[in-house]
C-alpha cells in the first residue's frame, strides 16, 4: 500500500515537472512561432489590401496635388476596424528588417499578432498621441530591445498611403502600469508642452515582469506619400 502511494506520488511529480517544461516550451518557442506566423499573415493581408485598393481606387494620379494634399489622411470619419492591421511599423534600431503590423486594439489577441494601437488615441500623423503597445517577451518578443531606444531614433509607419516618420526625444521612461497620463495628447512627463503629433510606445518592465512599464515618446517629423518611395534612413 505504501509502495503504491509512493509510486503515485513520484508519478505525479514527474507529470507536474513535465507540464512545467511543456509550459516553458510553449512560452519560449511556441508563442514566438505562432506570433511570427500571425504577423507575417497580417503583413501580407495588409499588403494585399493596399494593392487592391490601389488598383481599384487609383484614379489619375495628381502628383503635384498629392504632396499638398498629403497632410489630410482623412482620419476618423470612421475608426479603424478593431483587431485588424491598418499600418506597418518599422524601427531600424531593432534591426534593419524589423517590421511589424499595427493592430487596432490592445486586447490579448491583438498583441499576439502585432503591435497594438490603443483604441481612442490619435491616428498616425494626426494631432494628438498615437499610442502603441507591444510584447517585450513572448509572442515574437517584438519590443525585446526597447531599452536600446535613444533620442534621435526614427520610427517609421506606413499606412498604405503615407509614410509617417517620428523621431524619439528621450531614453525610455520607467513608470507604473496605472500611469495612463503617458497616453494623454500632451503627456505630462514627456517634456512636450505644446499640442502636436506625438507617438507613444509602451511595453513591460522588467522584461519578464509586470510591475512597471517602459515608455518612449517621439514627435512627427515628416509625412510623405508612399508613391514617393521609402523615406530616407529606412531604405538607406
Amino acid at each position: 500500500m505504501g509502495r503504491l502511494v509512493a509510486r503515485t506520488l513520484v508519478e505525479l511529480c514527474i507529470t507536474v515537472g513535465a507540464l512545467i517544461v511543456l509550459l516553458t516550451c510553449y512560452l519560449l518557442y511556441w508563442t514566438n512561432i505562432a506570433a511570427d506566423q500571425a504577423m507575417a499573415g497580417e503583413l501580407s493581408r495588409l499588403q494585399q489590401q493596399w494593392n487592391q485598393s490601389r488598383v481599384t481606387a487609383a484614379p489619375t494620379p495628381a502628383p503635384s496635388a498629392s504632396i499638398g494634399a498629403a497632410p489630410s489622411p482623412t482620419p476618423s470619419a470612421f475608426a479603424y476596424p478593431p483587431d485588424q492591421a491598418f499600418a506597418v511599423l518599422s524601427i531600424p534600431r531593432f534591426g534593419r528588417d524589423w517590421k511589424k503590423p499595427i493592430i487596432e486594439g490592445t486586447g490579448v489577441g491583438d498583441l499576439q499578432k502585432g503591435i497594438g494601437h490603443y483604441a481612442g488615441t490619435a491616428e498616425p500623423g494626426q494631432v494628438g498621441n498615437f499610442a502603441l503597445a507591444g510584447h517585450r517577451r513572448t509572442w515574437g518578443n517584438p519590443f525585446n530591445d526597447f531599452p536600446l531606444l535613444r533620442p534621435g531614433d526614427r520610427i517609421y509607419i506606413d499606412d498604405g498611403r503615407f509614410w509617417y516618420v517620428y523621431r524619439l526625444d528621450r531614453t525610455p521612461l520607467r513608470t507604473l502600469p496605472t500611469d495612463i497620463g503617458v497616453l494623454d495628447p500632451v503627456p505630462p512627463e514627456s517634456g512636450y508642452t505644446q499640442p502636436g503629433s506625438y507617438l507613444t510606445l509602451t511595453t513591460c518592465d522588467p522584461a519578464w515582469g509586470h510591475s512597471h512599464r517602459l515608455i518612449e515618446w517621439g514627435r512627427l517629423v515628416s509625412v510623405t506619400p508612399v508613391s514617393a518611395g521609402e523615406p530616407q534612413g529606412l531604405s538607406g
Binding site: 476618423s76 483587431d83 486594439g105 486586447g107 490579448v108 513572448t138 503617458v182 515608455i215
Partner: protein, 93 residues
C-alpha cells in the same frame, strides 16, 4: 498510473510504446491548443499596456481577459470622442 496505462494498452511492447507516444502527442496538442492559451493571460508576460485593467494580470485577478473589440485598455475618460479625433490639423512637417 503510468504502470496501469502500460498494462491496459493492447499489443506488443513496441506497439504499446507507439501508443504511449501518440497519447503524449495528443496531450501536448490539447495543452498547447486549449490549456496554455487560457493559462497564459494569468502570467505577467502579457502586461505591456498602461491603464490598470491590462490585457493579462499577473496578480491572478479579476476581470477575465475579454478578447475582441471591447478589450480596450484605456479608461473611458481617456477615450477621445470621435469628433475630437476627427479634427485634423494637418501635419507638422
Amino acid at each position: 498510473m503510468y504502470g496501469f496505462l502500460w498494462r491496459k494498452l493492447p499489443g506488443s511492447a513496441p506497439l504499446r510504446a507507439l501508443q504511449c507516444l501518440l497519447l503524449f502527442l495528443a496531450a501536448v496538442f490539447v495543452l498547447f491548443q486549449f490549456v496554455f492559451p487560457r493559462l497564459e493571460p494569468l502570467l505577467p508576460f502579457g502586461d505591456v499596456t498602461v491603464g490598470g485593467n491590462g490585457t493579462g494580470s499577473g496578480t491572478g485577478s479579476t476581470a477575465p481577459p475579454s478578447p475582441g473589440p471591447s478589450a480596450s485598455t484605456l479608461n473611458g475618460a481617456h477615450r477621445l470622442p470621435v469628433a475630437e479625433l476627427s479634427q485634423n490639423h494637418g501635419v507638422v512637417v
